[in-house]
Symmetry: C2
Subunit: 200 residues, 2 copies
């Protein structure tokens, strides 16, 4: 005999499929849905529906957007000669929130990871190469995560873009700026040592 | 210029209204919804809709259920002379999962809390008193949280049921059974000292 009605058990199962949501949290969220007024719960259901209906990858940069091209690619005030390459849309959002970058983007949707069966052809790298080859691009900035997959994918892209003569750079990494040496993780610290540069 | 398309920003806002979901988690959940196939996302939307459509409080015990009376109140194998009183449906689920209780329940939906403006009339206490007065009930077991509000509400209910002559008990509390003294919280330990009982 189940302790939850069938529809509640289904909702818990759906919540549990989400990243970082365990059984306990899924139960708590379902209880919350039970408790709130119907119109509030249906607004959440509707928001999910709308996102799937309206949001598509931009045909130029592959950012998730309601317009195509997206509001960044379509913005005449942005510098089209700069392309910042990120792994995921959330990375683009994080960079946008700094308010310091005025170029365009390119979203890869992952990194090359042979162990997970992800090759270059599963990412948007060919489209990036086509953008760079088309002219009008002066620099491709690789803002992939500072880890092994990010390193490997950055190397792959740099090599792939070699013949376009476009400058390819990568954002700096090491110990976090503004943090302290003794509060850095061992891996960040040892990596920052390994990647040491001549002092200016 | 927003970094998220409008529908994505709405979805993030809806996720953020949920308990224990901060901005970062809400963004992560929205990105997840963007990434998964439409049919998976719509299944979540549908599950929310179904719960609000089908689940109602049981007219007898107020447990959230699709049937009325609920599957517990309607189960002829359960002992109708025992009523276990809990604050929330999730407490009922926790007790059901122990597999050791075979009586019925009564869900209060909160505790008396004058500071939050919650009085006895906002809970299902009158309905509980009516159930106890109707006869056939031998014991009301109070399984409210072992905190100040749970204590106060338990006292209130015990007093309210006095004239029904039904036995009113409360689950034991103190340091957690199976735990260790030196790993108990200070408050659990000091409360267990205050509530000490004659050794059998």
């Amino acid at each position: 005999m189940p302790s939850y009605p069938e529809s509640v058990a289904s909702l818990i199962a759906e919540f549990e499929r989400m990243p970082g949501i365990g059984r306990r949290t899924a139960e708590r969220l379902a209880q919350h849905v039970l408790r709130i007024p119907s119109e509030d719960a249906l607004r959440l259901a509707e928001a999910i529906r709308k996102v799937k209906e309206r949001v598509r990858p931009c045909a130029v940069c592959f950012n998730m957007a309601e317009a195509d091209p997206c509001h960044i690619c379509g913005d005449p005030l942005r510098d089209p000669s700069l392309i910042c390459v990120v792994e995921q849309p959330k990375d683009l959002v994080a960079i946008e929130e700094t308010g310091t970058y005025r170029g365009l983007y390119h979203v890869l949707y992952g990194t090359i990871s042979p162990l997970d069966g992800v090759g270059p052809e599963d990412l948007t790298i060919d489209a990036l190469a086509a953008r760079a080859a088309k002219g009008g691009v002066s620099e491709v900035i690789l803002a992939l995560n500072p880890d092994i997959e990010g390193d490997g994918t950055s190397l792959y892209i740099a090599k792939k873009l070699e013949k376009t003569r476009v400058k390819v750079t990568r954002i700096s990494s090491g110990v976090a700026r503004g943090s302290a040496i003794d509060r850095s993780s061992k891996s960040a610290l040892s990596e920052s040592l390994r990647l040491r540069k001549p002092s200016a």
